[in-house]
């Protein structure tokens, strides 16, 4: 496990319709770092469920739609809300909420009171997914 996720209060954000239009942090997201998060089995976990245009990744799941072309389908704000809290859009979704710490049970000691991804990582992933265009 690398990288420190500070157990600080989450940054506030505003939902508008089905999106969070404003970035969580001022510094712009970095697509290269975002790609590393998406393909990491420890950080992003995305490919446990999703497939995507990552030919070097052998083991991709089939529990979720492909991430290919997602930047053409969704705006950055829509992608941001799906990462922050996809269960706000569909309470039955199995996609974890990546930026939420409330309403969880029996969270393991190493993960308690921390979101799955930091605000900076969320912005990196948004910036990367926006580059995945058809």
């Amino acid at each position: 496990m690398i990288g420190v996720v500070l157990a600080l209060a989450l940054l506030p954000y505003t939902v508008v319709g089905d999106a969070v239009p404003a970035p969580l942090v001022e510094a712009p997201g970095d697509p290269a770092r975002g790609r590393a998060v998406v393909t990491s089995r420890q950080r992003g976990l995305c490919l446990l469920c999703h497939t995507g245009p990552f030919p070097e990744e052998r083991f991709q799941g089939d529990l979720a739609p492909s991430l290919a072309g997602v930047g053409s389908r969704l705006s950055e704000g829509q992608i941001r809300l799906r990462l922050i809290d996809s269960r706000r859009l569909d309470p039955g979704s199995i996609m974890p909420s990546y930026y939420r710490t409330d309403g969880l049970e029996r969270v393991g000691a190493a993960w308690r009171d921390k979101p799955v991804l930091s605000a900076e990582e969320i912005e990196d992933v948004v910036a990367f997914l926006a580059t995945l265009r058809d």
Partner: protein, 270 residues
């Protein structure tokens, strides 16, 4: 997701033609029938043909080594009572026939459910007057594999003891409760998404008919509770501790959910 597209995604693994044939042979081998509309499938059916073959042949099944070790311990005198299991129970093939298929079972001593390991350790303490074997020790895994083998092929019989209704309900609730940082219930994977792929692994239905198992990833034998701790850690939940009432209740619920399916001990799993 329809059954059809599930099958397609399964085919996507690229081993399907062999797998389907051997899965049919395999389910016949473990006595499962779909003819009566039972959609329950053992973890065996989701494995690749090589792993199935490894389980299917006692000369290649690494779990049989544990069984042999268990037979040894069965016949060895121990404790202040200086008695072996065999001194009281005789030939395990007769006295332990069908026993494991009933566990977890109601225990009059504690007034609640205990699993097979706990039952064996009860005899260790009370009847042999010896120290109980630690959880996951080679000895307890060997003995439970040996006792378990005496029920191989028999239908799971757990779930009809009225004294355990409350404990089964508690396990049922635990199975459906979301937990961990990733906020998953057991049912989210094993009821709603079985036969689909989580990374490189096919999600089975979570029938615990083959424990203790030899798991290739562990390169060793392990109990059902060890397997469940892996699943809990996978969703970043705090695993229950070994032998806790919560764990035995969950085991009890799982076995009642597998009622009628064939015992496979010692199974091999990826």
């Amino acid at each position: 997701m329809s059954a059809g597209s599930r099958r397609l995604s399964f085919l996507g693994v690229g081993v399907a033609p062999v797998l389907i044939v051997s899965a049919l042979v395999g389910s016949a081998a473990v006595g499962l029938a779909d003819a009566d509309g039972d959609s329950r499938r053992s973890g065996f059916d989701f494995m690749g043909p090589q792993t199935q073959a490894m389980q299917g042949d006692d000369t290649s099944n690494p779990g049989m080594l544990a069984v042999l070790e268990g037979e040894d311990i069965w016949n060895r005198k121990a404790g202040a009572a200086d008695k072996s299991c065999a001194d009281c129970h005789g030939d395990a093939a007769r006295s332990m026939h069908g026993v494991a298929a009933h566990y977890p079972a109601f225990d009059t001593g504690t007034g609640g459910p205990i699993n097979l390991d706990q039952r064996i350790n009860t005899c260790r303490e009370k009847n042999q007057e010896a120290e109980p074997f630690p959880w996951e020790s080679a000895e307890i895994l060997a003995l439970s594999a040996y006792v378990g083998l005496q029920s191989r092929g028999m239908p799971v019989q757990v779930g009809d003891d009225a004294r355990l209704a409350g404990a089964i309900k508690a396990g049922d609730e635990a199975f459906h409760r979301k937990q961990g940082q990733l906020d998953f219930s057991c049912a989210d994977c094993h009821d709603a998404n079985w036969d689909r792929k989580l990374g490189g692994s096919v999600i089975p239905q979570g029938h615990a008919t083959g424990y203790p198992i030899y798991r290739l990833e562990w390169q060793s034998m392990g109990s059902l509770q060890r397997r469940l701790r892996n699943c809990m850690a996978g969703v970043r939940a705090e695993p229950y501790s070994y032998g806790s009432p919560e764990f035995v209740e969950l085991e009890l619920y799982l076995m009642s959910r597998s009622r009628g399916m064939a015992v496979e001990t010692p199974a091999v799993r990826p």
